[in-house]
């Protein structure tokens, strides 16, 4: 459903913010700062809306149970989630986020789980790297794996020694061929961002409607 008012607002706001990157007009910069501040506040509101929605979905699973389509185990998982969320809100909201009790929850629940999730990735990546050639054998796979193996070998102390020449080899790979590919990638990403952003600013794409 097309709404020209919404499109006009998005375009006008976008043009003001974009113009501020290139023009140093006082009134423009003031208006730009106000719009950006409003947008920052709205992002925080959107985050809270997301948390409310998360709570509502899992609360529904807990209270309705099998009638709402949730199995027994799903109810328990949702109950755990709701309990964790509520406890964090109460402790952190009442005592403050930097209170020792609030930091206790962060240090002993969130941090170990996230770090452990990252740690099991180490096993998964070795397994994936070992099986990669079996799944797809071509020149690019070989180049990819050889680069990864060389960089891994020379990133640490090889056989307990820091062998000369290896550090320079690693530095050269990072400075020249890898940097060339990375520069191409980030330029490509930036061009894609510009294309997509200009489509939004021109009103061609309107994700805010409906």
């Amino acid at each position: 459903m097309k709404n020209p008012l919404l499109t006009a607002i998005a375009m006008a706001v976008g043009i003001v913010v974009l113009a501020g990157y290139f023009l140093a007009v006082d009134m423009l910069l003031t208006l730009r700062a106000i719009l950006i501040e409003w947008a920052t506040i709205l992002v925080a509101v959107a985050l809270i809306a997301g948390v409310i929605n998360l709570f509502a979905v899992h609360w529904r699973k807990v209270t309705r149970g099998s009638a709402g389509g949730a199995s027994g185990s799903t109810q328990i998982y949702s109950l755990v989630l709701v309990t964790g969320l509520s406890a964090t809100l109460i402790v952190g909201g009442w005592l403050g986020p930097t209170h020792p009790y609030a930091l206790w929850i962060f240090n002993n629940i969130q941090l170990p789980v996230e770090t452990s999730l990252m740690a099991i990735l180490a096993v998964v990546l070795v397994y994936a790297g070992a099986r990669l050639i079996q799944r797809r054998l071509n020149l690019l796979t070989v180049v990819f794996l050889l680069t990864a193996v060389v960089v891994l070998l020379v990133s640490g102390p090889l056989f307990g020694f820091d062998l000369p020449g290896l550090a320079e080899l690693r530095a050269w790979i990072g400075r020249v061929p890898a940097a060339a590919g990375a520069r191409g990638v980030i330029l490509g990403v930036a061009l894609g961002i510009v294309t997509t952003g200009l489509r939004l600013l021109a009103g061609v794409d309107r994700p805010y409607e409906g």
């Binding site: 375009m11 809306a49 180490a122 990546l125 990375a182 520069r183 510009v194």
Partner: protein, 231 residues
């Protein structure tokens, strides 16, 4: 170490083992740990949003600010309430107005940043590789520097060519052949970059694994040390 610290260490130890159990396969212990983590993370996100944004920049200006501050704060208050209607499917269309403002600002920030922060400086950097005025005092091996510069420029252009999805049928056959070869060279540079990235990702994951193991060993050592003080 207080009892709270001990309890916390035990809780962390248990949660670490529950997450590691995923290597056996998806199981209820792993899911419990992940659900608890999601709840806690969401709670902290909400607290941070309220403490550092909503309260100081929305509520306090409305309550204690002067007239101008209140008027300026009124607009995001109204827009914020409209945005909250997105939770309800029935009222969701009301939230389109603040979404339009958000999309406009975010798109402009992304475009402006990409142009001024990446495209222009990085394009200039690809050319300035051959600017030897500053390099003479820093690097005696100018020949190697030039060779590296040629490789970087070639690699950057080849990588960009690989991402070109335009219509190549309009090119002359000979030009198309050269362009295709150029793209293949870009693929090789991308493979090298992604191999480097893979090594980096693995290094980060390995460090996390090392930290977990060291933490678990320290906990066991402390526990055994408290039980067996003579050891």
């Amino acid at each position: 170490m207080t009892w709270l610290d001990t309890a916390g260490a035990l809780v962390g130890f248990l949660l670490t083992l529950m997450v590691f159990s995923y290597l056996i396969g998806d199981n209820p212990l792993y899911r419990l740990a992940v659900h608890l983590f999601i709840g806690v993370a969401a709670g902290y996100a909400a607290i941070m949003a309220i403490n550092t944004v909503i309260l100081p920049r929305l509520i306090l200006p409305l309550i204690g600010g002067n007239r101008d501050e209140r008027l300026l704060a009124l607009v995001p208050v109204v827009l914020g309430w409209l945005l909250l209607t997105k939770i309800s499917s029935r009222l969701a269309p009301l939230g389109s107005l603040p979404m339009a403002l958000l999309v406009g600002v975010a798109a402009a920030a992304a475009v402006g940043g990409a142009v001024t922060g990446t495209i222009l400086p990085q394009a200039a950097a690809s050319i300035n590789l051959f600017d030897l005025r500053g390099e003479e005092s820093l690097n005696a091996d100018l020949g190697l520097h030039l060779v590296n510069g040629v490789i970087v420029l070639f690699g950057t252009a080849a990588t960009l060519a690989y991402f070109h999805f335009g219509d190549q049928a309009q090119m002359a056959p000979r030009v198309r052949g050269w362009f295709e070869g150029f793209r293949q060279a870009g693929q090789v540079f991308i493979a090298i970059t992604f191999g480097f990235l893979f090594a980096g990702v693995y290094s980060a994951a390995l460090t996390a694994l090392i930290e977990r193991i060291f933490t678990l060993v320290d906990l066991i050592k402390n526990f055994l040390g408290s039980l067996l003080p003579a050891v």
